[in-house]
Amino acid sequence: MSVMKRVSLIFRAKANKALDRMEDPRETLDYSYQQQVEMLTRVRRGVADVATSRKRVELQMNSLQKEVDRRDGQARDALSKGREDLARAALQNKASLQGQLNDLQGQYANLQEQEEKLTLASQRLQSKVDAFRTRKETIKATYTAAEAQTRINEAFSGISEEMGDVGLAIQRAEDKTAQMQARAGAIDELLASGALEDHVSGPQDAIQAELDKLGADHSIEAELAQMKGELSAGSTPQLEASANGDSSGSEATQAAERPQAGDGS
């Protein structure tokens, strides 16, 4: 038998089973209405849950993007210092992070889609429930219990199919959110522990350490050069500074004069 027919029969069987259990048809209406209102609450909660999950992924995407940008900066920095090996390593890490980011972007789009679908399902159910409430009162007011039976069955089966549809949509969204949360949790932990860096570039971000060292080496060299320059130009600048006459001035003058004295002996 066909797929579409089989699915419709599953929905019908469910509605019929529920109807069979009802003794007073009018009670069916009230009870069903109660269930519909509960279902509306569930679907709205579902929308909120998906939105929360989506926002969390959004934050993670931002964090990952920052990491990607940082690697890019490192690669440029390394290249400007003539370290192509470091630049290559940084770009490799960037590619790995970018892969994770692309993956998250896909998941994000999926969650967004679920959120939109569930929002629409919620709106549709709301309209159906409103219409059902009106129908319910009409049936109760207009027909005797015996007459009402057929109309109640119609209304009940119709709304039951809608409820089943929304129920499935909620379940789907919950499944996708749960999958997403498991992944998001893992990435959160990685980002928090700094292990994401470890994972892609070894402990303590070896690239940054090397670049920092290069940077430090560079500034030490610069400082050394400056000191050498000062020494070879004589101690005049320091003498001028201490000539302003603060309390440490004489000590500084003595200290500055010592090498000269040494030179003189």
């Binding site: 797929v3 579409m4 599953i10 109807l19 159906k128 119709g158 709304i159 199919e161």
Partner: protein, 97 residues
Amino acid sequence: MIVRILGEGQFQVDADAAARLTALDAELDAAVEKHDETAFRAALGAAVGLVRELGTTVPDDTFVTADYILPFSDASVDEVRKLLADGTIPGDSIGRP
């Protein structure tokens, strides 16, 4: 004929569209049987597109059951197999006394 697309509501389609849907339904059935994801998605996409395009939305205050129910537009073979196999729909408490 009334067709529901899960997640999208009910649509009224004419006899011509219904005949085309029946042909697509056979493709869906074969794809589910063979577990052919590509063929399944193609047939489902075509069926959903057909109903969206040619169907008219059933008004909110009309309470009818669908003759055909199409899976969610992005459903997988596994998902449909599961639905057909265990036949359970969430919200089973509906109407329970």
